[in-house]
Every structure is written in structure tokens, then in C-alpha cells.
């Protein structure tokens, strides 16, 4: 399938000769720009199946590359490198090394679901983006993204109390990602917030910081959820053939 976006032709594949004569015709200058032919031999045919095995990736096989997702994408509008259509193509073709070039931005999908709205084939590209960023992390291609850390901090809190108390989530997230809380804009925001806030409200917020709001009789639900998460995690480990990776890592560590 041809790739139409000009930006997808990598600079290193563009060849220009200052002076070039072909069959006696002078084609120097921009006439001599060629796109390097390439031979792809390192297919990883397992990728599509592995991503389809992760939540959100189930419908990737339905894609027929119309590009509606990229066209409607919020993140693509501010970063043209963010291209769901292209990534779905690479995954389905098994072009792993090309996919890995963009490994550090795929997690930046903001889940606005404009793609899901536009997609004529019910691929749920938003889900595919989540599945792909999970795949990259689980396979060890990328460290956990800040977003993944946030999701984990959030989910841990729900398992514990059933509810979210935002100041806790924020503090834990900043701690886990080793960021300082006292950034100038954060200080300014708190200042403006406090300007008009009545004492009663301040007290209420203060209490919530010490005593987390919680759902009562939550332990049953919490352990049922934890059990389900563990079970799914185990299943996914097998589907992604992670045991092999883990073995290699352990052998490397031992050596």
C-alpha cells in the first residue's frame, strides 16, 4: 500500500547529487532527488495479534487505511508526527523498526475520541493507541509513560478507597514521576484559588487531605477487582510471549 504523506519520507532516504548526468541528460540540482528504494526484511508478523490481544486493540484488523483518524486527530493538529493511520498500517504490516521510531509519542493520545467518531470501520483507533502504548511498555521498548504512571496511581487509590481525592492523586503522581510540586504556575494557581475562598471551604479541603473520602464496605469490590487485574495481566503475559523476554532478562542479569 502506498504511503501518501510526504512527511513520511525520511530525510535519510532522500538522495540528491549536485552533478548528475543520466543517459547524456544533465539532471543536476533538484531533478536529481531520488527516494532510496528500501527492502524491508525484518517483519514482525506477531505485532498485530499481540496488540489485538490487549484491551482496545481488538478491532485493528478492520482498518482499511482511509485516514479519517489522522485527519480528525487533536494531537496530529499540533504534532504532524502523531499519525494513528500510519501506525495502524505499520502494525498490520509488521514493520516494527519503523513503529519504534515513534515509540515515545504514541502514549500522547488525549483520548478525545474524534477518531472513533470519524472512523467508518469501527476500528476504535483511540483504543488501538492505548493498546499500542501498553504493548511498547510491556515489551520493554519504552519506560512507563507519565500517563501510565498517572493511571496506576489513580487506580491504586480507587482500589484502596473506592473514590478519588484529587490532591492525593496529584501529590503521588508528582512524587512517582520525580517532579517538584512547587512549579511557578502551580503556586500561582493556588494563590488565585485561595484569594476568594471562604474559611469553611478551606477547612473542608484540609480535612480531605488527611482523611480520604471512601466508599464503605469496599473491601469485597476491591479484592474482586485486584484479582481480575492480576488474572488479565497473567493472560496478557502469555499472549505477548513475555515469559521469553523475562527469561532472557534474568539470564542476562545472572551473567
Amino acid at each position: 500500500m502506498p504511503i501518501h504523506e510526504k512527511s513520511l519520507i525520511r530525510p535519510e532516504n532522500l538522495k540528491t547529487h549536485d552533478e548528475l548526468i543520466l543517459d547524456g541528460v544533465d539532471v543536476s540540482g533538484h531533478w536529481s532527488t531520488f527516494i532510496e528504494t528500501r527492502v524491508v526484511s525484518d517483519y514482525n508478523e506477531a505485532i498485530e495479534e499481540e496488540i489485538a490481544a490487549l484491551p482496545g486493540g481488538e478491532n485493528i484488523h478492520r482498518c482499511w487505511q482511509c485516514g479519517s483518524c489522522t485527519n480528525s486527530c487533536t494531537v496530529n493538529a499540533i504534532n504532524p508526527e502523531f499519525n494513528p493511520r500510519y501506525w495502524i498500517y505499520l502494525i498490520r504490516m509488521g514493520m516494527e523498526s519503523e513503529l519504534l521510531r515513534d515509540k515515545d509519542i504514541i502514549w500522547q493520545c488525549v483520548s478525545c475520541n474524534k477518531c472513533t467518531y470519524a472512523c467508518p470501520r469501527d476500528v476504535f483507533p483511540e483504543g488501538v493507541m492505548k493498546a499500542t502504548s501498553h504493548w511498547l511498555e510491556r515489551k520493554g521498548h519504552t519506560p512507563k509513560s507519565p500517563s501510565m504512571h498517572f493511571d496506576e496511581v489513580f487506580t491504586e487509590q480507587i482500589l484502596k478507597t473506592g473514590k478519588i481525592e484529587e490532591s492525593r492523586t496529584i501529590r503521588r503522581f508528582f512524587k512517582r514521576t520525580s517532579q517538584g510540586l512547587m512549579q511557578p504556575w502551580m503556586i500561582e494557581m493556588v494563590k488565585r484559588l485561595l484569594k476568594n475562598l471562604p474559611v469553611g471551604m478551606l477547612t473542608r479541603m484540609g480535612i480531605a487531605t488527611f482523611v480520604a473520602p471512601r466508599t464503605s464496605n469496599w473491601s469485597g469490590a476491591s479484592s474482586a477487582i485486584q484479582e481480575y487485574i492480576d488474572e488479565q495481566h497473567q493472560k496478557q503475559e502469555e499472549l505477548l510471549n513475555l515469559s521469553e523476554l523475562i527469561d532472557i532478562a534474568q539470564k542476562d542479569a545472572a551473567a
Binding site: 499540533i78 488525549v110 467518531y117 507519565p146 504512571h149 493511571d151 473514590k163 481525592e165 481480575y228
Partner: protein, 310 residues
């Protein structure tokens, strides 16, 4: 029973954000309900709907969490309508409803988890989930509001901002795009209708359903700041004094990144951000304090006084 009667007494699901950063939305929703004679019965011992974050960890857990809320409303409280003012909660309950109606695997997982957790399994169709916009639009409507307005919002130019979760993806909102009187997923208008009935002038705002980057508001703040700045600037260019919101995540995102844009990019956009329930409440004669205007970060107290409100 007509929607008008059915929505008069609803199970109220505020959700986590409305007990924290979105407290002003909680407060103003309750105050407006009281003023309009509508009955809100809070869902007993509710839990988080799962939000975007749990969905990212595993979508079926989010379905379960949302189903537990609906199960409590239906089975413990005998209610048939759940009203959620938060777009995230509203979206998630709708999504759970869709999944439980159409996906047997979700039904199995929810049943298994509900049994282990020790409560009745929610079955699709037991409750109808509505947004605070549906609630006021259907029970009181524009005509009803016009009759009740004490302080018209006239002279206030508003950009109505609905965000992502209220309309997308469309398959979880079967009642939208359903002909006359229904909400539109491409050009939502319920908030516009209500605020116009309260006297406000709605500006032509093309980014009603644009994304504020709420999902990564802290994990990818630079992206969120860019997206929010675009929304603020466009609203300003469209001539708006105020952006009206109907989601706590959008609201706090706009407020937070308005400041972040000032501090990190030096871009100052002076526009007030108010929940639609705050605006409606003041139009109905409630004091600014009663609807929590002083809890907002963007300071609109002076502006509202100038316009004869609060």
C-alpha cells in the same frame, strides 16, 4: 411517563471531582435544582466511575465500577434515572450501559465481580443515565426558564464549551442525533438553549466539542496548555466574555492551563470561566456565593457585579 415528569426526581451521582476541584459545580447544581423544585437524591455510598484512568488500565474494570453505581441506584434505591453532571461520570455510565447491552463478555465480568463484591449485578436497562443539561432542559425547558428568570444574563456574551465526553463516541449516546428536540453530537446546543433562555447572548463558537487535553492535564501538560490556549483564544476572538462549562475536568483544565499559559508561555487571555449551573443559578436570582463563584480560580466576581448579577 414523560421525561418532564420522570426527571423531576432523580438519583444524583456527583462523582469524585465534584467533591474536590469541581465543588462549585456540585454546589450550583444542587442550588439550581432546589430553586427549580427538582428533587435530587444522592446515590448511596457511591464509588468512582473509573474515569479515563481505570479504563486505560482495563476497560472492563471501568465498566464494573460504573455498573456498581447504577446497581445501587436501581436495586438499593429503586430509582430509574441517574443524573451525573460530570461529563466523565456521565460518559462512563453511558459506556457501561452500552457494553452491558451489547457485549456478553462485559456482562460476564460485571456479574462475576458484582457477586464477589457482594451486591446485585446491574442489568442493562434498569436505569437511564442523563446529564445535568438533559435534566434541566427536559423538566423546565427554555419556556419554563424564561418565566423564572429574575436577573437576566443579558449583555453577557458566552462561548458554550461541551468538551469531548458529552458527545463522543456517538454509539454510546443512542438518544442523541435522534431528530427534532434531541441533542446533536456534532453541534451540541442544550447549554446554548438554556443560557439563551436565561437572557445570555451566545457567540458563534466553533470549538464546542474540541479537546482540552484533560486526559494528560498533568502527564503531558505542554500539550494540554496548547489545546486550552487555542480554546481560550478562539472564544475571545468570537467575542465571548465567558466560557460556560458543563464538566469539572474541562473547567479545571481551562482554569489551570489559563494560568500555566501565562506563566510558561507569557500568553494572557482574559476570559471568565463559569459552570453553566452557576450562570443559570444567578439568572434565577441566587447570590454569586450560593453558586460558588468565589470557588472558581478565574475571577469573575467584579465582572458579574458590573452586569448586575451576584
Amino acid at each position: 411517563m414523560t421525561k418532564k415528569d420522570k426527571y423531576k426526581k432523580v438519583a444524583y451521582y456527583p462523582g469524585c471531582a465534584l467533591e474536590g476541584t469541581g465543588h462549585a459545580y456540585n454546589r450550583s447544581t444542587k442550588a439550581v435544582g432546589k430553586k427549580l423544585g427538582l428533587d435530587l437524591v444522592e446515590v448511596e455510598n457511591w464509588n468512582c466511575c473509573g474515569a479515563m484512568e481505570v479504563k486505560n488500565v482495563d476497560p472492563k474494570i471501568q465498566t464494573y465500577l460504573s455498573s456498581r453505581v447504577m446497581s445501587t441506584a436501581a436495586n438499593e434505591m429503586n430509582m430509574d434515572v441517574v443524573m451525573a453532571p460530570c461529563n466523565g461520570c456521565y460518559h462512563n455510565l453511558k459506556k457501561a450501559e452500552y457494553d452491558l447491552k451489547n457485549d456478553t463478555e462485559s456482562v460476564d465480568v460485571v456479574d462475576r465481580l458484582s457477586k464477589k463484591a457482594g451486591h446485585k449485578t446491574y442489568e442493562s436497562g434498569q436505569v437511564e443515565t442523563i446529564h445535568a443539561l438533559d435534566w434541566i432542559k427536559e423538566t423546565i425547558g427554555e419556556d419554563g426558564l424564561r418565566e423564572r428568570v429574575k436577573n437576566s444574563l443579558s449583555g453577557i456574551k458566552i462561548a458554550n464549551y461541551y468538551g469531548c465526553m458529552y458527545t463522543r463516541p456517538r454509539h454510546i449516546f443512542p438518544e442523541k442525533d435522534a431528530g427534532p428536540g434531541s441533542e446533536s453530537t456534532s453541534k451540541p446546543h442544550f447549554m446554548d438553549d438554556l443560557l439563551e433562555a436565561a437572557g445570555a447572548e451566545n457567540v458563534d463558537f466553533p470549538l464546542k466539542t474540541a479537546c482540552c487535553g484533560g486526559a494528560h492535564t498533568l502527564s503531558d501538560s505542554d500539550t494540554s496548555t496548547k489545546l486550552v490556549l487555542n480554546i481560550l483564544k478562539t472564544a475571545k476572538l468570537a467575542g465571548a466574555d465567558v466560557i460556560a462549562t458543563e464538566c469539572p475536568t474541562c473547567h479545571s483544565g481551562l482554569e489551570m492551563h489559563q494560568i500555566r499559559a501565562e506563566k510558561t508561555l507569557g500568553e494572557v487571555v482574559d476570559i471568565k470561566i463559569l459552570y453553566f449551573t452557576q450562570l443559570l443559578g444567578m439568572a434565577l436570582g441566587l447570590k454569586a456565593k450560593k453558586v460558588g463563584v468565589h470557588e472558581n480560580i478565574s475571577n469573575s466576581i467584579g465582572f458579574l457585579k458590573e452586569k448586575g448579577l451576584g
